[in-house]
């Protein structure tokens, strides 16, 4: 086997985060390399460097033994590197065929697009993937899974030597996953080198020849899949025994704090659950399952068509975030940069942003700057936020510290229930442990916690009970003996219920 792609000593730093530190990677012809790591381990950054989206701060890239310098994505594409991004990059208003060939439309002559040829070739590629999609349909009419398949077809359309798939299966069902794995093996058989990222270990065992594990922006290990066991992989990925990471004290559960009944809207189809004081309720589901929509609906940020929300047994009307705040519900969004923080403002302004109306003097007309400062100091100390001062722009903090700012901002509203949507996404292991401890502490203080996560290990270890969503439906509620990784997944892909 000959070496197709080689990375040497790649480093990349963003403000506040060392995303990659001295990372190596080798990919051989005809090989499927699994890249494994927790969220925030640096996989996506590494992929973006391979595909020319980011320039590395240090390190070298070799394709076929030749040193390359990718300045723009087109440079990488010219070397036959195709990538399927985690965030889909489709064009709603264009046809399936156009999406597949975008940037390299087949031409009839120098200027004219050959629609016939394009549709024919698109059909061929789609047939190779065993999917029945009309190449002439507009992409906006497709389902999420179909769009994902179009993305894969897009990567196959060019003369690809190296195919990178960033969580290609996250929105697919079992049959589709199986077909995708077959396809991937077939492509490897044709001599293509594939880098495959997925969190589902069973998939990696089925598809990969070799695996590389990353943690905290570093390469931890790389070995043949034959030598791998799930336990070994998880341990390498997390860096310590899972048990050590998650504190688990005995907490006395109180009365039901939040109860929702029959939530329905465009996405949600009849969701009911309840959570008690001092309890952490896990919410698990795959991409597009409606987890975020559920959170937002409870929090008043998304419309509900039907359903009832009860706090301490009493029904509350929630039409806006203000209503939710009054009802003592807090919500930590999954995308902290877009939804949780005002990045360009200071730490103290962010801490005060949910309660600014309370920090006033002069009959509510003037902001009481001293109280804003004191509030920031209090939370910086309490949550151990590492920041030069309260005046620091929040954008420059690391992911973990940013997340603490969002948490503090909501704790200042003294909520009775807090909904955490992917609270540990994109933050390093150390900060994760701190967040876990914090969640535990909140419970001890008697808060009810709803924790949404796409990491099975996290849900399983931190909570005693979880609900699972699939396509907007509640497919199951797990606890006690039933509460296993297999069952979680089974319900998440729509089985079980």
């Amino acid at each position: 086997m000959s070496e197709l792609l080689k990375l040497k000593g790649i480093s990349k730093e963003f403000p506040g985060v060392k995303a990659l530190q001295n990372v190596d990677l080798e990919l051989n012809r005809g090989e499927v390399l699994a890249l494994l790591g927790e969220n925030g381990a640096g996989k996506s950054t590494l992929l973006k460097i391979i595909s020319g989206v980011y320039l590395p701060d240090a390190g070298e890239i070799y394709v076929d033994g030749e040193k390359k310098n990718f300045k723009i994505p087109a440079d990488a594409a010219a070397e036959g590197i195709g990538i399927i991004y985690q965030e889909l990059s489709y064009y709603d208003e264009l046809t399936v065929a156009e999406n597949i060939f975008v940037g390299k439309l087949p031409k009839a002559n120098r200027i004219k697009v050959d629609w016939k040829e394009m549709n024919r070739r698109a059909k061929e590629i789609l047939a190779r993937l065993n999917v029945q999609i009309d190449p002439r349909a507009l992409v906006k009419t497709l389902s999420t899974a179909e769009k994902q398949l179009v993305e894969i077809a897009k990567a196959l359309a060019s003369d690809t030597k190296i195919l990178i798939m960033d969580e290609p299966t996250s929105a697919l069902n079992d049959a589709e996953v199986k077909s995708l794995i077959e396809q991937t093996r077939k492509l490897a058989g044709e001599g293509i080198g594939v880098i495959f990222i997925s969190h589902r270990l069973e998939e990696l065992f089925a598809v990969a020849d070799r695996i590389q594990i990353m943690r905290d922006g570093k390469r931890i290990d790389s070995f043949s899949m034959k030598d791998a066991t799930p336990e070994k992989l998880v341990q390498l990925m997390v860096g310590r025994e899972i048990k050590d990471m998650y504190p688990k004290g005995e907490i006395k559960k109180g009365d039901v704090v939040l109860e929702v009944k029959h939530l329905k809207n465009k996405t949600l189809k009849d969701i009911s659950f309840s959570v008690r004081a001092g309890e952490i309720l896990g919410v698990f589901g795959l991409m597009g399952a409606g987890r975020t929509e559920m959170c937002k609906a409870i929090f008043g940020a998304s419309k509900l068509q039907e359903g009832e929300i009860l706090m301490h047994g009493k029904p509350v009307k929630i039409h806006s975030v203000e209503d939710a705040k009054k009802a003592k519900i807090a919500y930590l969004p999954n995308d902290r940069k877009k939804e949780g923080l005002i990045l360009s403002q200071s730490v103290k302004e962010n801490f005060a942003s949910a309660v600014i109306d309370r920090y006033t003097k002069g009959k509510g007309f003037i902001v009481d700057k001293k109280r804003v400062d004191r509030n920031a100091d209090k939370w910086i100390k309490k949550l151990n936020v590492s920041t030069p001062s309260g005046d620091t722009v929040v954008e420059t903090l690391s992911g973990g510290n940013q997340q603490k700012v969002v948490v503090g901002k909501w704790l200042e509203t003294s909520p009775d229930v807090i909904i955490l949507n992917e609270p540990t996404r994109g933050i390093d292991v150390g900060a994760k442990v701190e967040i876990y401890k914090l969640i535990e502490e909140l419970c001890q203080e008697g808060m009810a916690v709803v924790m949404v996560s796409s990491e099975q290990a996290e849900v399983l270890s931190l909570t005693d009970r979880a609900i699972v969503l699939c396509e907007g439906r509640l497919t199951g509620e797990l606890c006690c003996d039933d509460y296993t990784q297999e069952r979680l997944m089974e319900y998440a892909i729509g089985g079980g219920a």
Partner: protein, 322 residues
Amino acid sequence: MKTKPLILNKKKFEFTSTHLLLIVFAIVFVVFTVMIPDKFFTGKNFMTIAKYSSVFGLIGIGMTFIIIGGEIDLSVAYIVGLSSMVMGTMLQTIDNVVLVAAAGILVGLVCGIFNGFVITKLRLPAFVVTIGTGQMFNGFAQLINNRPQIQFSNDLFREFSKINVFGVIPLPFIILLAVAVLTWFVLKYTVFGRCVYAVGSNKPASRLAGINAAKTNAFTFAISGFLCGIASFMVTSQNGSGIAAAASGAEMDAISAAVLGGASLAGGKGSIIGTLVGVFLLRIISNGMNLMNIETYWQMVLQGSLLIAAVIMDSVKNNKDD
């Protein structure tokens, strides 16, 4: 409208904005025909409408390119004005009509390239930049002769807009149709055309796919500038003068027409045929109101309201898609 035949397994009949537009068009047409039959429903009046539609149609087509690419240009009226003043001034001393027309069109093209360059190279918000460049063009237009208007006496140049093909169809209208067919082809069948849709639909993804998004957008501004140049040639010929305000308010007309015709200000959507229907609709309304002796000031109010109405339709549509 254009992409519809591409969908094979499309559901049953779906009421779209195109249908609404056609219905409104029909209603307006019928109303004017009933209210002022002797003035509105005449061959001569249709020729007038066709003639004015040609000028606004060309500007509208240019705007459609820009909007599909996800940008906007508020300087088009001033591009037409600058080009008109340049032609008017040249005609004082130069008799060569072709040379003057070419120069006028070139001025439009240069203005468009300038807009495109500034906006795409420096990645600036198009609407503010074109408010600024529009004022610059406006200033330049009046600077040339230190006045906002200049008459000329070149009969051949004036004659152009009066030519009728087959005795009934104004030549400018033929040009509009030719440009429409050509641009329709460009948008639908050329790589560039499809890239305009791709860039407008998802700019970051287009960059990742190796499309030069900046260049694509810059080109749409150049095309618009070029078409403004041709429009200016027509309107200058009609007026018999170079006028800096020859197309005042045209940006509003053009945006309204494009959006009424199905273009979305979010980019990625729009069609030439839709825009043309939009242009005709606006021209007929304006023509009918003129014939009914309604003050131009009411027309200003209506023009602004139509723009907002068109955009409301667009936003309602987009919300439904979600």
